[in-house]
């Protein structure tokens, strides 16, 4: 009996789970290798960057060519490691996105000389470790892995934020980030334990089924006390996610951390961390909202029929997913508005971009609110909208922070005012920056427009007063954001510098070509969006069978 269970487990792990887990395994191996190599004298001469790059490229390649993007639409949903993780289209899409970003990010740090030859391995192992945690976040299928993955992604990030030794601001940022993160993690853990205790399981699909069953008359039935406790637990879990997404009112760490940390780390935190948190958000919303997923263990249709039949007033007004939708909508609206307004008065470019990422977190949460409202297979389009937005956002924010990093190296300043007259020194950098800023606002013909369009389209398609109000909020916010983004462009192009002495280009050719590589997708993805849209659609397909 016992042996058969062990045999089964072993077979499950080695035959199914591990092969689908190769990219993460490669990351693990790379970290170990980087640290080991430094023991040998010959290894000391090797710059860890090359090892890290090779490892992440290999992981990305495995992600692309093993069952990956090409078969996204036909991918079969598989639970790994006895249901702790799940392998499906959403995971593959986001994992590819994260690893692609990792490669671009590593190249950026090389170009800006962030990590030196001697202790580069520390930096790179932190980055790879955080990415590993993020990969787990997007394929988490169990509340325990949810928590572990978030922590695995967060802890290296705390260290990364304080990377520049001896700089007080960086250390301050790291400490703030760590303590704040610990607080948020505590709240989230409390919520998780409440959820698991109330529902008797921590397995996400099972939680979904219990929630549906709880609403029906045929189910065990949840009295209103339990419902309130469930709502509390949901909000607590949301707090943990909101911290990762830097959503208001859990954003307080973001401006200080982004200002204190280097611009490269800012790019990492704002893009990768956010993409992973969004993946997790999608998973949690998909689990909590009734849908047609085949994984549900009980006959959903009969339960739903009974649910409609027994339209008891209290239950229908307090359907968990409606509650979730409203909570997300409120968070999104407040986050977006707060981020945009606070960005107005910033004089430091990194602080401004920090508020900009807060605002974009608002836009990104909006489709999730729409998804929670519509429920069922109708959630596909909003989720696809989030994925499209995240993919486009990757290029926008990476370019913005990369420009800040390059300019820091040559100008020695991160104040917006010091960018005056840059147009004359390096026109192409300014072009890249203006393209990025316009794309962040969402002006065609740039991909940011597509991102914002699909997000708002999902809201309109969902309908209802809350969603329409959200659309209005988002549109007003877009107008507001125009001002502070364009102010940067204005300073770069129109303002005259205080001293005319410098006329040499501000960035090297390598840096300029890097910017070209990250800027072009913003135009290409506007002109040829079909492929990305199709991928995002296919990625969400396997969520609902």
């Amino acid at each position: 009996m016992l042996t058969s269970i062990i045999d089964h487990l072993l077979a499950d792990t080695t035959r199914i789970s591990l092969p689908l887990f190769y990219p993460e395994l490669v990351l693990c191996a790379t970290i170990v290798l980087m640290l080991l190599v430094k023991i040998f004298p010959a290894g000391e001469k090797l710059h860890s960057f090359w090892l890290a790059l090779a490892g992440s490229l290999l992981a990305l390649g495995l992600c692309l060519w093993r069952p990956g993007l090409s078969q996204l639409a036909t991918l079969e949903r598989q639970e790994l490691f006895t249901g702790m993780l799940v392998f499906d289209g959403l995971g593959v899409f986001l994992r590819t996105l994260l690893l692609a970003f990792l490669v671009l990010f590593l190249v950026l740090t090389k170009l800006t000389h962030l990590a030196d030859r001697e202790d580069g391995q520390d930096f790179f192992s932190l980055v790879l470790g955080a990415t590993l945690g993020m990969c787990l976040m997007v394929s988490a299928n169990h509340l325990m892995t949810v928590f572990l993955a978030i922590e695995m992604a967060s802890v290296p990030s705390y260290v990364l934020a304080g990377l520049v030794k001896g700089r007080r601001r960086a250390s301050e940022a790291a400490l703030k980030y760590a303590v704040y993160g610990a607080g948020a993690a505590g709240v989230m853990l409390y919520g998780i334990s409440l959820l698991a205790g109330l529902l008797g399981t921590a397995h996400l699909p099972t939680i979904g089924d219990r929630l549906i069953a709880g609403q029906g008359a045929a189910g065990p039935g949840l009295d209103s006390g339990v419902l309130v406790a469930l709502a509390l637990a949901a909000i607590m879990v949301l707090v943990g996610l909101a911290f990762k997404l830097s959503a208001v009112p859990f954003h307080f760490w973001a401006p200080d951390v982004f200002e204190g940390a280097t611009a490269e780390v800012g790019a990492f935190l704002s893009v990768a961390s956010k993409a992973a948190a969004l993946g997790l958000l999608i998973r949690l919303v998909a689990a909590a909202v009734p849908n047609d997923a085949p994984t549900h263990l009980i006959a959903v249709d009969s339960v739903r029929a009974q649910l409609v039949a027994s339209s008891s007033v209290e239950l229908s007004t307090f359907a968990p997913h409606k509650f979730l939708s409203i909570a997300l909508a409120v968070i999104a609206a407040v986050t977006c508005t707060f981020g945009n307004i606070a960005a107005y008065v910033q004089t430091n470019i990194k602080r401004m971009l920090a508020y900009s990422t807060i605002a974009h977190a608002g836009y990104l949460i909006m489709p999730a609110a729409a998804a929670a409202q519509v429920g069922g297979a109708g959630m596909r389009d909003p989720f696809a909208a989030i994925l499209i937005y995240a993919a486009i956002y990757l290029f926008m924010n990476l370019t913005a922070f990369a420009i800040v990093a390059f300019l820091r190296n040559s100008l020695g300043s991160e104040e917006i005012a010091d960018y005056a007259g840059l147009w004359r020194r390096s026109p192409w950098v300014v072009v890249a920056m203006v393209v990025t800023l316009f794309s962040l606002v969402g002006i065609p013909p740039l991909a940011g427009f597509n991102a914002k369009f699909v997000a708002l389209y999902a809201l309109v398609a969902a309908g209802g007063p809350w969603m329409i109000a959200l659309v209005v909020v988002a549109c007003i916010n877009t107008v507001i954001s125009l001002v502070y983004y364009l102010r940067v462009a204005k300073v770069m192009i129109i303002d005259t510098p205080t001293d005319e002495a410098e006329t040499s280009p501000a960035v090297s050719t390598a840096a300029a070509s890097y910017l070209l590589v990250t800027t072009l997708p913003m135009i290409i993805l506007f002109l040829f969006p079909q492929r990305l849209f199709a991928l995002a659609q296919a990625a969400t397909a396997s969520l609902f069978g």
């Binding site: 400490l175 709502a231 707090v239 409120v330 307004i341 008065v345």
Partner: protein
């Protein structure tokens, strides 16, 4: 490779070559200009050659495509009597290259629709464009050095400016690309895009001498008047889009399925290819009232809407006012853009869109054409500017084409479009040659130039003979205009026989033919015959260089021969094979029941043919005779006649007061309203906006400084003071802030909970 792939590929390449030339010239020269301050003239000349090379290669490709088409397609090769499409429906190739946007069911694509008409238009447009490009190399050579513009005074002196040879060819290339884009376009949305693109090219080219006030006003006028027409076109597009749900002309293959296009939805085989509105056109009222012809009104309106765009572009009444002013552009532009190709695009679109027009819409088209041809011909009688005579003649000839299309003569109208393109570009280039020699546009300052510039004079004579339709009706042979104009009058006769009340549609073209002959020969006599009226200009006149006369000779040959049946090349035969399915059999009006559009084959009946031939010949002969009496033999004095019919002369001389009318009815009120709105804008809205901006700034200031500094920092400071009992040395900012931050986690959680629970339970 099959012809299905080779022809569209060839045409696509021909279409894109001018774009490449444009991009290279535009980017290259602006880079040089940025670096050196001015583009060297040698480089400008090379830019011109590049442009000529691109269009020349495009011509070659177009003709290869034409011959491939001739070789691979069955077609009737000349008149085939009453038979209709003996080889089945006309062949076409259609597909999409690129999908621009796909939102819901709205699909905007770039695609092609290639049939015999497309191939023929490509050959014609590229051929004429090449002639004009080559001619312009000579005509624009003034721009290859410092230019002194005698028509512009800056502070009492003539304007000096650097030459802009490259700029001219850059726009010319962009224009060629845009024009070919209209011709190859596979759907209405793409037509509209390129429609606007030729509009902007026309704007640039009319305003080429931007420093001249008249040129920039004329460019504005052309652009704005065209927008009026485009407004109607947009309405038509919306009606079609909402009702049929697609913009594409032909059936687009989609995987293994076929997406039916406009034409096949409106004329499908089950209805015997007759025009039947689709379900989408039927309004709920019509459905409930059980209307006799459901959806017919909307279809008619959609057709007229599309035609409105054509009215603007083809300078038809009442939007014809922009074309004569457009002659402010350099003469090669007038020849290419404002006579042969762009203004013909409106006619082309009516022809392309022919399957969608109901008989009622066609009647509107016919009357518009009829009025236009008559009014323009009368104005041309008194014009003294050589280019304006030709401009009004262009408007008049475009009216002929519209009239022909409106009364069912699809082949006649498109045929006249082709022949007119050749002889009108010839006439314009000749006039350019004259202007080049005598440096004036005014006919009263010319005279006797025949001896000084024989090639120009006799090629222009060929053009005049072609436009009046000179030919021998008994032998059945003549210049190109003879065939096409006779075809129009035949169709008009056949139409008038069936529709008594609309007899004016026959009278106008015949009368117009008299006027055409008169004003064309008046122009030729005034310019080339008789004693020179301005001795000084006459002495300085000389024949143009060969780079200008060779295109004249080539075009003169085409003006003579374009109508002939030579071997496999016969434009009418090819056009007949392209005639849209279901339109050749004629139609009967539904709303206007008495209206009958006759089948075009009926007009080939010998009785009609002979009668029409004699009328056309008589009209042309009468016109030439009158012109000769007045201006060659001088038997009668034209100024005496003018003073006898003084009111009419004044009416014609001031162009029927259209410009003044529009000025009073539209321009002045618009300006007045504009001033009023500007006042409101400046005084009231700006104030409001400033106020709002101040509010926003103030709000941001509060959030930024007060919230950030006071609430957070202040609370931090206060809290730190409280917590640490004012122990200043321990008041590390980080520690204080952090406590605050972590407190906010709890506060935020509580706030969120209460807000969400409140909302949930409140409902």
């Amino acid at each position: 490779m099959s012809s299905a792939s080779i022809i569209p590929n060839l045409l696509t390449l021909a279409w894109l070559l001018p774009l490449v030339a444009f991009a290279v010239i535009c980017l290259g020269c602006s880079m040089v200009q940025r670096r050196q301050g001015q583009v060297p003239y040698e480089l400008q000349r090379r830019a011109g050659l590049l442009s000529v090379g691109a269009i020349g290669a495009a011509t070659l490709l177009s003709f290869i495509a034409l011959f491939v088409w001739l070789g691979t397609h069955e077609w009737t090769g000349g008149a085939h009597g009453g038979e209709l499409h003996p080889n089945g429906p006309p062949r076409y190739y259609a597909d999409d290259w690129y999908s621009l946007v796909e939102i819901g069911s709205l699909k905007l694509t770039l695609g092609y629709y290639v049939d015999a008409l497309t191939v023929l238009m490509f050959a014609m447009v590229t051929f004429i464009a090449t002639c004009v490009h080559v001619y312009a190399l000579g005509y624009m050579h003034d721009e290859l050095h410092e230019v002194t513009d005698h028509e512009v005074n800056v502070r009492g002196r003539h304007l000096h400016r650097p030459g802009r040879f490259h700029r001219f060819f850059q726009y010319l290339s962009l224009f060629s690309f845009s024009m070919l884009g209209i011709v190859i376009a596979g759907n209405l949305a793409m037509v509209f895009m390129f429609w606007e693109l030729v509009g902007i090219c026309s704007y640039f080219l009319i305003g080429f001498y931007i420093e001249r006030h008249s040129a920039s006003t004329a460019a504005n006028k052309a652009f704005i008047v065209n927008r009026v027409g485009d407004f109607g076109m947009l309405i038509g597009m919306m009606a079609l889009w909402a009702s049929v749900g697609t913009f594409s002309f032909g059936d687009i293959p989609q995987g293994d399925k076929v997406q039916p296009g406009l034409f096949s939805q409106l004329r499908n085989e089950s209805n015997d290819f007759a025009l039947v509105p689709t379900v989408g056109f039927v309004s709920p009222q019509e459905e409930s009232a059980d209307a006799k012809y459901p959806g017919y009104w909307l279809l008619t309106i959609a057709g007229i809407g599309i035609f409105c765009g054509c009215v603007g572009k083809s300078a038809q009444f009442p939007l014809h006012v922009w074309l004569p002013d457009a002659m402010e552009g350099p003469t090669p532009v007038s020849a290419l853009v404002h006579s042969a190709t762009m203004v013909a695009a409106g006619v082309y679109l009516v022809g392309r869109f022919y399957p969608v027009f109901t008989p009622e819409a066609l009647l509107v088209i016919a009357y518009t054409g009829c009025i236009t041809l008559f009014i323009a011909a009368t104005i041309a009688l008194t014009a003294t500017d050589i280019k304006r005579v030709l401009a009004y003649s262009t408007v008049s000839q475009l009216g002929y084409m519209m009239l022909a299309l409106g009364i069912g003569g699809w082949v006649a109208g498109m045929f006249h479009l082709m022949t007119h393109a050749f002889f009108k570009s010839l006439l314009f280039l000749c006039s350019g040659s004259v202007i080049h020699a005598v440096h004036t546009n005014e006919l009263p300052l010319m005279g006797g130039l025949r001896k000084k510039m024989p090639i120009t004079a006799y090629t222009m004579l060929v053009g005049c003979l072609a436009i009046i339709g000179a030919g021998l009706p008994i032998a059945g042979i003549g210049l190109s205009g003879y065939y096409s104009k006779d075809a129009i009058i035949e169709q008009a006769l056949s139409f008038a026989k069936l529709n008594g009340p609309h007899r004016v549609l026959l009278l106008a073209p015949v009368l117009g033919a008299v006027l055409t002959a008169f004003y064309m020969f008046r122009m030729w006599y005034l310019a080339f015959v008789g004693p020179p009226r301005d001795k000084h200009r006459y002495d300085h006149a000389h024949e143009s260089p060969r780079v200008m006369t060779v295109p004249l000779l080539v075009l003169a040959f085409m003006a003579i021969a374009a109508g002939w049946n030579v071997g496999p090349l016969c434009i009418t035969g090819l056009l007949e094979s392209a005639q849209p399915i279901g339109t050749a059999v004629g139609a009967k009006g539904s709303l206007a029941a008495a209206l009958t559009i006759p089948a075009e084959s009926l007009s080939h009946a010998p009785a009609i043919k002979q009668q029409a031939g004699l009328w056309a010949f008589g009209a042309a002969a009468l016109g030439v005779l009158l012109a000769t009496v007045f201006y060659c033999w001088k038997v009668m004095n034209s100024s005496e006649v003018a003073s006898t019919f003084r009111p009419i002369h004044r009416l014609l001389l001031s162009k029927w007061w259209f410009d003044e009318l529009y000025d009073w009815v539209f321009v002045k009120p618009t300006l007045a309203i504009g001033l009023g709105i500007a006042w409101v804008d400046r005084r009231m809205i700006d104030g409001l906006i400033h106020f709002l901006a101040r509010c926003a700034k103030w709000g941001a200031g509060i959030v930024g400084s007060i919230f950030d500094v006071r609430v957070i920092d202040g609370a931090v400071d206060g809290l730190a003071a409280l917590t640490w009992g004012g122990a200043g040395e321990l008041r590390k900012i980080q520690t204080g802030r952090l406590r605050q931050y972590v407190m906010f986690i709890v506060l935020g959680f509580l706030a969120l909970t209460f807000a969400a629970l409140g909302v949930a339970f409140a409902r």
